[in-house]
Amino acid sequence: MDEFRQFVAGHAAALLRSAYLLTGDRQLAEDLVQDALARTHMAWHRLKDVGNASAYARKVMYHLQVSWWRRRRVAETLTDTAPVIAAPGRDTALELSVRAALLKLTAGQRAVIVLRFFEDLTEAETAKALGVSKSTVHFKSEAAFRRLARLVPELEGERG
């Protein structure tokens, strides 16, 4: 299982950052990544290479996050504990607003936003990762931005 340990060492940080955006909470993010990695470990023997394992872990993580089983477990616990540290050149107020707005999206909308604009996947790649159609991704993305724009008016006009 050294290969698995190496895989985790190389990919856990990136998964955790995405999970943090998905959940808005460090502990929940760690739980989510651990769940995804546990399933990856379970399927390790049929994942042909690390590239497959990475895609598998990420896909499982996103599926877990939007699943009702998980939502039920973590419902009402989306409380962020990470401080936003003021720094030169950073609009702290805007960051706080975006943070709060992200947590007001549905789990599915948040997954699309994170995949599209944090992981920089295309609509097609996002659709494949989530196991949905491209039109579904497009629809969720549109809905998410409408909601974000209402919650954070400063973002209005940011879409391109």
């Binding site: 993010a29 990544v33 379970m42 390790w44 699943s67 944090f118 989530l130 940011e158």
Partner: protein, 420 residues
């Protein structure tokens, strides 16, 4: 989206440091793996026993089903489920299968044959402490021999009396109800991963899975219970919901066309006034919606389980009681627009149609006056079998409960299936 928003997201995630995750993940993975190994063993036994083959296998390559390379689904793994046969119903079955109601667990079935009772713990996973997993919706096949369940990992199928079952479709977003084909060889369930419902069609014996996309919304104004069932001889697949209508297609979902499910009744046609007055809000009596539970072989008879009120959205599995009983309260001949009635039982008590055979026989289940039979609790059911001409050809007053050793009284309210 400008780069600024992307940068905001990256700032948001920066500084999140990775905790040691490999060892906890491996520990959790081994636990899951133990379950999987058990499942594989059962599958191997099934193959050795020659139980696989001879049934419809849907081709993932042509049906757009996810492949193993997609990661989150498994390759087809044979189960140990046993398909039945489709034939005339000439008598009620000797053995009835119930969902337990009395042992403090959803996850055991009761097989009742005359005065003989048997409790079967279902083949679900237990956690490290030996406890049951949280609520798991499960559905017994019409032949009473197999069980399909929506576990946390996805859809599992196996023999009702087995110690483990097989994960045939890995998904954390299953929703709605699981329905078996009349010959117990296939299973259909919905997946609500996207904004629209996908139907997951599974060959219960070979484990082959196909995914069928629909335009039925998971949420939204048109959302409602989604029906997905095979007709009484298993030759056609019907799906849809009340606001958007229904579709009928070949058994594998090909060649779809609109399906006329008939006009739903106002509440006064099927509910007594007291129920209307006490259970429905103003205006709800004129707002019927349906979950279709059976369609005859020729498509003319449609069994509607009609409810009233505003749509509540497509129910995810966790909102589905493990004790939703198959059956409908309104059997409609859509070719004539006439309701099929059972004068001998209509008015006697609450009656549901729980079975519709390929040859027109009907099984009803009536909640009768408890004075009719049996001591104790006021839930006495009588099951009746009717031929295609509407004549009663068999009848059974069901037992109310049985005593299961020191565990207490097991109520038999929920009839899941019946052995051939």
């Amino acid at each position: 989206m400008t780069d600024e928003f992307r940068e905001l997201l990256h700032r948001r995630a920066d500084g999140v440091k990775s905790a040691p995750l490999a060892e906890p993940a491996m520990t959790a993975g081994r636990r899951l793996g133990y379950v999987r190994d058990s499942v594989a063993g059962v599958a191997a036994v099934a193959v050795a026993a020659g139980l696989v083959g001879g049934y419809l296998v849907l081709d993932p390559a042509t049906g757009g089903a996810p492949t193993a390379e997609d990661g989150a689904v498994l390759p087809a793994v044979p189960t140990d489920a046993v398909a039945g046969e489709i034939g005339r119903w000439t008598a009620l079955p000797e053995t009835l299968v119930y969902g337990n109601n009395g042992l403090g667990s959803d996850q055991a079935a009761s097989l009742v044959t005359g005065d003989t009772y048997e409790t079967l713990p279902l083949p679900y996973f237990t956690d490290d402490d030996g406890g049951d997993v949280e609520h798991t919706p499960w559905f017994v096949s019409p032949n009473g021999m197999n069980v399909a369940s929506a576990t946390e990992e996805g859809l599992s199928i196996g023999r009702l009396d087995a110690e483990a079952d097989t994960l045939v479709h890995e998904s954390a977003t299953l929703c709605g109800l699981i329905n078996w084909s009349p010959d117990s060889s296939r299973v259909v369930v919905s997946d609500c991963a996207g904004d629209t419902v996908d139907l997951i069609l599974v060959d219960a014996v070979s484990g082959a899975v196909n995914r069928l996309a629909t335009d039925l919304p998971v949420e939204g104004e048109d959302s409602d219970w989604v029906t997905a069932i095979w007709n009484a001889d298993g030759s056609r697949l019907i799906w849809g919901n009340t606001p958007l209508g229904f579709t009928i297609a070949d058994a594998d979902g090909s060649d779809p066309e609109p399906f006329d499910a008939g006009v739903l009744p106002n509440a006064a046609e099927i509910l007594d006034q007291h129920t209307i007055d006490t259970k429905l809000l103003p205006g709800e009596a004129e707002n019927p919606r349906t979950r279709i539970t059976a369609v005859s072989a020729d498509g003319n008879l449609v069994c509607h389980d009609v409810t009233y009120g505003d749509p509540t959205g497509y129910h995810a599995m966790d909102r589905v009681s493990g004790h939703i009983e198959p059956g409908c309260n309104y059997l409609l001949d859509v070719s004539t627009g006439q309701r099929i009635e059972f004068p001998e039982v209509d008015g006697e008590g609450y009656t549901k149609i729980v079975g519709l055979s390929a040859f027109g026989e009907v099984i009803t289940r009536t909640l009768t006056d408890p004075a009719d039979s049996g001591p104790g609790y006021g839930t006495v059911y009588r099951t009746d079998l009717w031929n295609a001409e509407g004549e009663k050809i068999d009848s059974l007053v069901e037992p109310q409960y049985y005593e299961d050793g020191g565990k207490g009284r097991v109520m038999l309210n929920v009839l899941w299936g019946y052995t051939s």
